[in-house]
Each structure stands twice: as structure tokens, then as C-alpha cells.
């Protein structure tokens, strides 16, 4: 079929400059192979990334007709609209030339932070069951599509992002590893797991079904099991978690006033911080001075927390060592 590639070769995202290339290719050809064909037959100066061409290396991610794709996994026939495929860089990666991204800056440097290999923990036979979740995370090709969809990266490029945090998961859940708590602590610092807003976009964007948002949430759960609820640079989080847990496990439901006070530093510091908003809320009839009551069945909720905390007492000791 006759395809026109509108290929961005300059300008900006808002005002792109395109060069058109026509080529006749079978509809089942992948977009990546068709781009290679254009480069080989029409213009050897076209710059774009790509390597394995079989969905293994994650290198050929591009924006095609406005959707971000691993281009060796989509066909020309399904991608084209009225015979046209517009090729642009993905939204957040810096561009070196044409649509060739600087993946090191965008992604690889962040992934490398969490890529320190397994430090053996003394060794015990590892079952297939234990390794299954890790093996899933190992399938990540760092194609970057999860980072593209990420709500946080949209406002802050310093956020590690779901691809790098998938790498953290890969090692933090490895049963052979001996420095789990250290890894979780590192991932808990500013721009790490706690900056994730669990919007599930990463899970929706991953073309391999690895569910990166779920992996980040599992990593947070594992950090909490180890007693790690923040990094050293964002201690307010730990106070927030502790206040939240205390409120629910004592009363069965959330006491927003006490959580806000404790989160922002206790009665005096927190009181000063929350006072202006609190007073306005009182005046509007949004907040009340009524005491936070204990729900029937709150003791059942407390039991669930107690059981969890008892089960993880060993891990927390490990953290303190």
C-alpha cells in the first residue's frame, strides 16, 4: 500500500517541521521496517533509533499518528490513517536529531541507579514460584512507554518514573538478594516510589503487560513491611503514614484533623501550618469541632493491623541493624 510518512525533522513539538516520504509497502510490514526502507531507498540522513526489530530491545519507541508505540510491534496497515503516518519524537525524551531520542538522559541513567546486581544473601534453594514475579519484571525492555504515560513525569522530569522503578522491583523482590532494605531505602528518597501517584497510567501504557504501577505499589508495600515509609529527605511521609495507620487502627476510619496535624509536625508546628485553612473550613461549615468517634468494629480493624505488624516484626529488626 502507498504510504506517506510525515517525518518530523525539525521545529518544536508545538510547531513541528515535517518532510514527506512516499513509499509502497505491504500493510503487514512493521512501521519500523518501513522507516528503515525509507532510509535505505530515499534518504540516508534520516535519524531514528532501533535495533532488534522484534520487540526485544525497546529502542524504536516513537510517536506515530499521535500515539506512542514500540514501532517494530505495530503494522503499517493498522497505524496509517488515510494513507498517512506522522512520525514524531515521544513527548518527554530529549531529541538529538530528527526523532532520535537521547534515551540515556531520558531513561537509562535513571534505570542504572537501581541496576546494582544481586548481592547473594547466603543462599537457599529458590523455587520457581518465588522467582516468577521477578521474572516478569525482567521482561522490561525499557521502551519508555510507561514513562511517556506517567502523570508525574508530565510535571517533573526528575521523577525516576515507572521504568526505573520496575528495575528497583526486579532486585527488591529477588529472593537471592541480601540488601533488600538498602534498595528499598534508596528507592524511597525524593523522586522515588513515594512520589508515584498510583494513577495506573503506567500499567495501561506498558505494551508487554508488565503492570509497572502495580509493581511500584508492591514495592511500597514491601518497604512498609520493612518499616520504611519514607526516605531521609522526605520524612513528612513517614509521619503521614504513621498517623494514618494510628487513626484507622484505633478508630476504624480516618481522622483527617489529627492526620493533618501529625503529618505537618505535631500539635504546635502542624497546628500553625494547618490553622489558616482549618479556620476557613470551620467558618464555611466544612470542618467541625466534633470529636472523631470510634466506629463499631474498630477493634477488628486494629486486629488486622496488629497481625500484619507482628508478621513483619523480623523484617523491621533487619532494617535497624
Amino acid at each position: 500500500m502507498e504510504i506517506t510518512f510525515k517525518f518530523q525533522r525539525g521545529g518544536t513539538r508545538a510547531q513541528p517541521e515535517y518532510v514527506d516520504y512516499q513509499i509502497d509497502v505491504p500493510p503487514e510490514m512493521t512501521v519500523f521496517d518501513a522507516l528503515v526502507a525509507v532510509r535505505e531507498t530515499q534518504d540516508g540522513t534520516l535519524a531514528f533509533r532501533g535495533n532488534c526489530s522484534v520487540g526485544f530491545c525497546g529502542d524504536c519507541t516513537l510517536s506515530v499518528n499521535g500515539a506512542q508505540k514500540v514501532t517494530c510491534l505495530v503494522t503499517v496497515g493498522k497505524t496509517q490513517k488515510d494513507g498517512v503516518i506522522t512520525v514524531q519524537p515521544i513527548r518527554y525524551a530529549p531529541v538529538e536529531k530528527d526523532v532520535m531520542h537521547d534515551m540515556r538522559k531520558f531513561l537509562w541513567d535513571k534505570v542504572d541507579v537501581f541496576a546494582k546486581g544481586v548481592v547473594p544473601n547466603g543462599g537457599h534453594p529458590v523455587t520457581d514460584e518465588e522467582l516468577r514475579p521477578v521474572r516478569k519484571a525482567m521482561r522490561c525492555t525499557t521502551c519508555g512507554l510507561c514513562d511517556e504515560g506517567c502523570t508525574v513525569i508530565d510535571v517533573n522530569l526528575d521523577f525516576y518514573g515507572p521504568a526505573a522503578l520496575t528495575k528497583l522491583y526486579r532486585f527488591a523482590f529477588d529472593p537471592r538478594d541480601g540488601i533488600t532494605a538498602e534498595r528499598l531505602r534508596e528507592g524511597s528518597e525524593v523522586h522515588g516510589i513515594w512520589d508515584c501517584v498510583h494513577c495506573w497510567e503506567a500499567t495501561e501504557h506498558c505494551p508487554f503487560g508488565l503492570e509497572p504501577t502495580h509493581l511500584i505499589m508492591d514495592t511500597r508495600d514491601r518497604a512498609i513491611a520493612h518499616g520504611i515509609k519514607s526516605g531521609y529527605g522526605n520524612k513528612m511521609l513517614e509521619r503521614h503514614y504513621d498517623a494514618f495507620e494510628e487513626s484507622i487502627s484505633r478508630k476504624g476510619w480516618l481522622d483527617e484533623r489529627s492526620v493533618a496535624l501529625q503529618t505537618y509536625g505535631g500539635l504546635i508546628k502542624g497546628g500553625l501550618h494547618t490553622l489558616p485553612l482549618g479556620l476557613r473550613a470551620l467558618r464555611k461549615g466544612k470542618a467541625t469541632l466534633k470529636p472523631h468517634y470510634k466506629r463499631p468494629g474498630a477493634d477488628r480493624i486494629r486486629k488486622i493491623f496488629d497481625r500484619y505488624n507482628r508478621a513483619n516484626a523480623g523484617l523491621r529488626k533487619e532494617k535497624q541493624r
Partner: protein, 297 residues
């Protein structure tokens, strides 16, 4: 025809967003939504508490609704998403059996895995029906622009929301009520609230983006189905204005309030005066009750 539900209001609707709880109760009665409020249940976990803890808490909630033979109704997207996520994990029989054995059995409870979890927005479209909603209009919202804001949990993950068409219900409701849909690109993105303690700068940047886009496109109000998004968009609006130097002055309305206004309820009764971002200008734009000017039919 009445629609019966076990009702899980969530903590915020009983706490810092009392106007959501009250407007819901008022509106539900008009649409024959009969609710039996669950009182002996815990906080869903709000995405903060590990699954190992919130799954048993939510299994208990789900078991109580199941014992009543009723689906569970929520008015908070976050509760919806978190309890829905637990319900999905609890479809695994072995996992469910373990949670039942370890946490529910000694109370004489057992969750069989059958409870349907529904947000009020879904119930309004799927159980009540938009035709019935329209038949009750006494004050069409013609001439008013509403930016829908779902937040995360009513849009994703797909296996929890179950039906992709649910991603468009919010604007369908406001349009059915006569309002104009003022779409914003971030309507299914995070409001910023979950990042408020972790990284306030990120949170405010998200909030400013959504509010700014709605204002730029001419919205008269934003409508949302989640009280946590409301705490951010409404409660933090003045702080975001201070941080960004941009004034938004955008009223943020809970879904039941918008429905309530259209069926002729009093703005004060619906709690519009309780918001932190002023709703005065918006209320002044409302047509008188009984007005049929351009009524959506």
C-alpha cells in the same frame, strides 16, 4: 423502580466533605436509590495501606454487603478503586479462603466473592438511566460549561473499572442535564492529592495544569466524583494560586451537587456555600427552578 445498595460513604464524605454526603443522600432519594449505610466497616486504605492490610479490611466490608444480598455503592472514586482492586484480588479462591480463615472466620463472616462494587456515577447511568435523570430536570443547566474531572480510579486499571464505556459517563451526565461539556486533556489524570505529602511541588503543578486548562477553555465549574480530588482542587486551590501566581477562581462541584441543582434542589441545601473556592458567581448564573428554556429533552 427502586435501586437498593449497601452504602459505603468513605471517610472524607463523613469528614472534610460533609456536603458530598448530604447532597448524595438528598439526590439519591429523588431517584429511588435506597441505601443502607454500612457503619461497622473500616477505611478502604486509600491506596496508602498495603494490600496485606486493606484486603482483609475490604473483604470484611464486601462480606457485609454480600450478607445483605446487596451491591456496594460508593461516592468516592478512591474508595471505589481500592475496594474494587481488593474485590478483584479476592476473586482468587485460594487467596479469598486464606483471608476468610485468618481475618473473617472468628467474626462469623465469610466473603464468597460475589459483591459488585459500584460508584454512584455508574449507578446513575446504568441503574437509574439517563432518561430518568432527564425526566426529573426542573432547572436545566443550559449555558453553563462543566469540565469533567474523573481522577484516576474511575478510569483505570481497566480490569477494576470493568467496562471502558464508564470512562465517559461524567460528561454524559452533565450534558444530559443541559450543561456544556468543556473537555480537558487531564480529566483522567491525577489531581495531585496523593503527592501532597510526598512532593507538594508535583501536586500543585498537576492541580494548576487541570484548573488552568478548564479556565482557559471557559468552564464555569469543574465536576468530579471523588472527594479526595475535591480536597485538592477546591481545598488547595488558594494555595495553588499562591504558589503559581495565577488566579483560577473555579468552583469545584461534587457530582451529586450538579445533579441536585438540575433537579431543582436549593444550592444551599446541597452545600455549595461550604466550598473553599467560592461558588457565588456560579450560583448566580443558575436559572430559576421551573425554567424550561432550552430544556434537555
Amino acid at each position: 423502580m427502586s435501586h437498593r445498595f449497601a452504602f459505603y460513604p468513605g471517610c472524607v464524605a463523613k469528614g472534610f466533605c460533609p456536603e458530598l454526603y448530604e447532597s448524595f443522600v438528598r439526590v439519591a432519594a429523588e431517584f429511588d436509590i435506597e441505601v443502607e449505610e454500612l457503619k461497622d466497616v473500616g477505611c478502604s486504605g486509600a491506596g496508602l495501606i498495603p494490600a496485606e492490610i486493606c484486603d482483609p479490611i475490604n473483604a470484611r466490608t464486601l462480606a457485609k454487603a454480600e450478607a445483605m444480598g446487596l451491591p456496594l455503592l460508593t461516592i468516592c472514586s478512591t474508595c471505589q478503586g481500592v475496594i474494587g482492586g481488593s474485590a478483584l484480588r479476592l476473586t482468587d479462591p485460594a487467596y479469598r479462603a486464606r483471608i476468610n480463615r485468618e481475618h473473617l472466620a472468628d467474626e462469623g463472616l465469610e466473603y464468597q466473592g460475589t459483591t459488585d462494587v459500584k460508584h454512584f456515577l455508574w449507578a446513575l447511568v446504568e441503574d437509574v438511566g439517563l432518561d430518568v435523570v432527564q425526566s426529573k430536570i426542573k432547572r436545566p443547566l443550559d449555558g453553563l460549561g462543566f469540565s469533567p474531572f474523573y481522577g484516576c480510579y474511575l478510569r483505570r486499571p481497566i480490569d477494576v473499572i470493568q467496562r471502558p464505556e464508564r470512562k465517559l459517563y461524567l460528561e454524559q451526565v452533565t450534558e444530559a442535564l443541559g450543561g456544556t461539556n468543556v473537555d480537558i486533556s487531564g480529566k483522567g489524570k491525577c489531581c495531585g492529592f496523593p503527592s501532597l505529602t510526598a512532593n507538594e511541588e508535583n501536586a500543585f503543578a498537576m492541580t494548576a495544569k487541570h484548573l488552568g486548562e478548564a479556565v482557559d477553555k471557559g468552564a464555569d465549574a469543574m465536576v468530579l466524583p471523588c472527594p479526595l480530588c475535591h480536597l485538592e482542587m477546591d481545598g488547595e486551590q488558594s494555595a495553588v494560586e499562591k504558589a503559581t501566581g495565577r488566579r483560577f477562581d473555579l468552583p469545584i462541584l461534587h457530582l451529586p451537587q450538579v445533579v441536585g441543582l438540575a433537579i431543582g434542589l436549593d444550592p444551599k441545601e446541597l452545600g455549595l456555600s461550604r466550598h473553599m473556592a467560592s461558588t457565588k458567581k456560579f450560583v448566580a448564573q443558575l436559572q430559576p427552578v421551573g425554567s424550561l428554556v432550552g430544556a434537555a429533552s
